[in-house]
């Protein structure tokens, strides 16, 4: 039951416009609510199916009470309707309040975010408007598309590449202050390097690649070519790069076809490495040699991406991008140079 007025503590359901099993979409009128001043149409806020109406038309319902449940699928709605005779309405596991209020957007309860999608989710109705006697503290004011934060909190978040919306979701209120962002920052700094970290390195090399193209002609098929590329790049990574120990997974991605992931491809004969089913690659190789691409920009999709791009004739352009913490500049440079040498002459792999 939404609060439609400052001093309203309950509303009468004048009429239902939907019944159990109906599909609703945002904007659909689901009920009419009568207050001491007027009758207002209340709209659904999310897609779904009406599972149950928890009050009869004519009932007077306190503000904040759940009046109906909305579930994701027609089957769940049917199941809920079938079980409706057994449980009591108040003990139901929630369900979305189909009502909407005319003012601010509600903040979903954090617990609802984590609930499995197959269960009805409970989204708390908007807070009733504060009574005049409330202390001058913070109501959960929310502006769509904007996180309320102090200038200092924003400055700290910007300096560290932190997402204010994520911090608000974790804190569960706004405005955010410096201490909220600092707490998130402290938590963040103990976690591994962020996938969205703002800093990265990007190196570009150009090499003549006649040896590689000759090898490809001998190997024939696309699968062998990918395996050979994984071997050469893996060899450069392990022998030229800073980390020479441990397992190495290289994923080779073409512009067409499925990516192939290889474990320790440098230990197989050129072109003979077998792809494995799953795992997280240490390095992704994007083979765009036959394409029209000439430049790549933007952050790597994985921890480290190596692009093979056509330049002129038998010359290839290599771009290695890595997120901070994955490779240092010297290590990346050594690997990239190793790859270039192997593409120029695959026999380097044997040394």
């Amino acid at each position: 039951m939404p609060a439609l007025g400052m001093a309203q503590d309950s509303g009468v359901i004048a009429a239902w416009r939907v019944e159990a099993g109906d599909r609703v979409a945002p904007g659909d009128v689901v009920m009419e609510v009568e207050t001491d001043k007027s009758v207002q149409e209340i709209e659904a806020r999310e897609d779904g199916y009406i599972a149950r109406l928890l009050f009869e038309a004519g009932a007077e319902v306190p503000v904040g009470e759940v009046v109906a449940e909305v579930v994701a699928t027609a089957e769940e709605a049917a199941a809920a309707a079938a079980g409706a005779g057994e449980g009591t309405a108040g003990a139901a596991p929630g369900g979305e309040d189909a009502s909407s209020d005319s003012g601010s957007e509600p903040i979903p309860a954090p617990a609802a975010e984590a609930a499995p999608a197959t269960e009805p989710r409970e989204i708390l109705p908007p807070e009733p408007a504060s009574p005049p006697a409330a202390p001058p503290s913070t109501p959960p004011a929310s502006f769509p598309g904007r996180v309320l934060a102090s200038p200092k909190a924003k400055a700290i978040a910007a300096a560290h590449g932190l997402d204010l919306a994520g911090i608000r979701a974790a804190v569960g209120r706004e405005p955010l202050h410096a201490r909220d962002v600092e707490a998130a920052l402290a938590e963040h700094s103990t976690a591994p390097a962020p996938a969205t970290g703002p800093t990265r390195l990007s190196l570009r090399a150009v090499t003549e690649a006649g040896g590689w193209q000759e090898l490809c002609a001998r190997l024939g098929g696309l699968s062998a070519r990918r395996a050979a590329l994984a071997s050469l790049v893996g060899g450069a990574w392990r022998r030229e790069g800073p980390d020479t120990t441990g397992a190495l997974r290289v994923e080779v991605v073409g512009l067409h076809g499925e990516p192939r992931l290889f474990a320790d491809p440098d230990r197989s004969r050129l072109g003979a490495a077998e792809p494995i089913a799953e795992g997280t690659p240490d390095l992704r190789v994007i083979d765009a040699t036959g394409s029209s691409l000439r430049e790549v920009e933007g952050p790597p999709e994985g921890g480290a991406d190596l692009w093979l791009l056509p330049a002129e004739g038998e010359v290839l352009s290599l771009v290695l991008q890595a997120r901070s913490g994955i490779l240092n500049t010297a290590g990346a440079a050594a690997i990239l140079d190793g790859v270039a040498r192997r593409l120029r002459n695959p026999l380097y792999q044997l040394l």
């Binding site: 102090s150 200092k152 202050h177 410096a178 201490r179």
Partner: protein, 332 residues
């Protein structure tokens, strides 16, 4: 350092300047035999005679205008304006004449006069004898405004005012005349320079920036905050013109939260100007809305119960400070 009253400190400052410089003199209503209604000037006429401590008729525009003329001819008049509320009577002499002479003469003329007057409510003096009009004066370019907050400040700022070549209006808190405080010995002359705010307490959580009568409120509020586990910077602004922005901004950049206190009416007042400069120049350091605390926008009531409500006090300052520190203030 000895302890004397605010009144004695003002008296000493004037006496010392009269002894030091024969061009200094003082006039105003009831200044000689009566020594002013607050007895601030008692004994001066005995030492310096009626030629230098001069009683005037009850005509504020007359004796302030005469002082402007006297200053233009090379003397250094100190004018006693019995109540700050009487400033409205001397606006032309002060704002159109004193403030403009140097500018309009291309710097050839100067008006080295001091206008001593007062501010402050809660003396049960009603609406026409309780106003704090410093913002009104500070608005006019060419006038300096000093706001002493203790006996020591009163003496040091007044001596600097007498020696300044520009017209200076100095507001004394009429409730503070009998307050005692440490003041350096007469032989240790202390001139407090204009445009240098004074940090009285150092803290981390909040800045309390205050003028005149509100400095004491800020100091006691800082004590109250300490009891809650928080610490505050307390800054005495000392002079509204010139304003020491650097000290204020440095403090707010450190704490991220500020309450600006002044006993003038809050709307369009001294707090508004200081708060605006903070919002403008320390915006990215702010962790809470810049908060002002001035007097209500009402004529000061005669009723004691009502009058006490209209001016900032310690309890409400502490309450607002705690809301800021705890992030309970949102104005979105």
């Amino acid at each position: 350092m000895r302890t004397i009253t605010f009144s004695q400190a003002v008296n000493e400052a004037i006496a010392e300047e009269l002894r030091r410089d024969p061009t200094v003199f003082l006039w105003g209503e009831d200044v000689a035999e009566a020594g002013t209604p607050f007895k601030v000037l008692s004994g001066l006429v005995e030492e310096f005679g009626p030629e230098r401590i001069i009683d005037t008729p009850i005509s504020e525009p007359g004796f302030v205008g005469m002082a402007v003329g006297a200053a233009l001819t090379g003397t250094r008049p100190i004018v006693d304006l019995m109540f700050g509320d009487f400033l409205f009577l001397v606006m032309d002499q002060l704002c159109n004449q004193a403030a403009k002479q140097s500018y309009m003469s291309g710097g050839k003329l100067k008006v080295p006069m001091v206008l001593r007057t007062n501010l402050g409510a809660t003396r049960r003096s009603a609406a026409q004898h309780s106003q704090s009009l410093q913002a009104l004066v500070a608005h006019i370019p060419g006038l300096k405004v000093a706001l002493p907050s203790s006996p020591r400040e009163a003496k040091g700022l007044l001596k600097s005012a007498v020696r300044d070549d520009n017209p200076v209006v100095i507001f004394e808190d009429k409730l503070m005349y009998q307050a005692k405080g440490p003041v350096p010995e007469p032989e240790e002359e202390e001139l407090i320079p204009f445009g240098q705010a004074n940090r009285l307490q150092e803290g981390e959580d909040l800045s309390l920036v205050a003028t005149s009568s509100m400095v004491q409120v800020a100091e006691e509020a800082a004590e109250g905050l300490r009891a809650e586990g928080y610490s505050a910077d307390v800054i005495d602004v000392r002079t509204l013109v010139p304003l020491d922005e650097d000290t204020i901004l440095a403090s707010v950049r450190k704490t991220g939260r500020v309450i600006v206190l002044d006993e003038g009416h809050q709307s369009y007042g001294a707090t508004a100007e200081i708060a605006s400069r903070i919002a403008d120049k320390a915006f990215y350091h702010l962790d809470a809305p810049v908060t002002r605390f001035g007097a209500w926008d009402v004529p000061v009531p005669f009723s004691p119960a009502l009058e006490d409500q209209t001016v900032p006090d310690v309890a409400r300052t502490v309450e607002r400070a705690l809301q800021l520190i705890r992030g309970e203030v949102a104005r979105a």
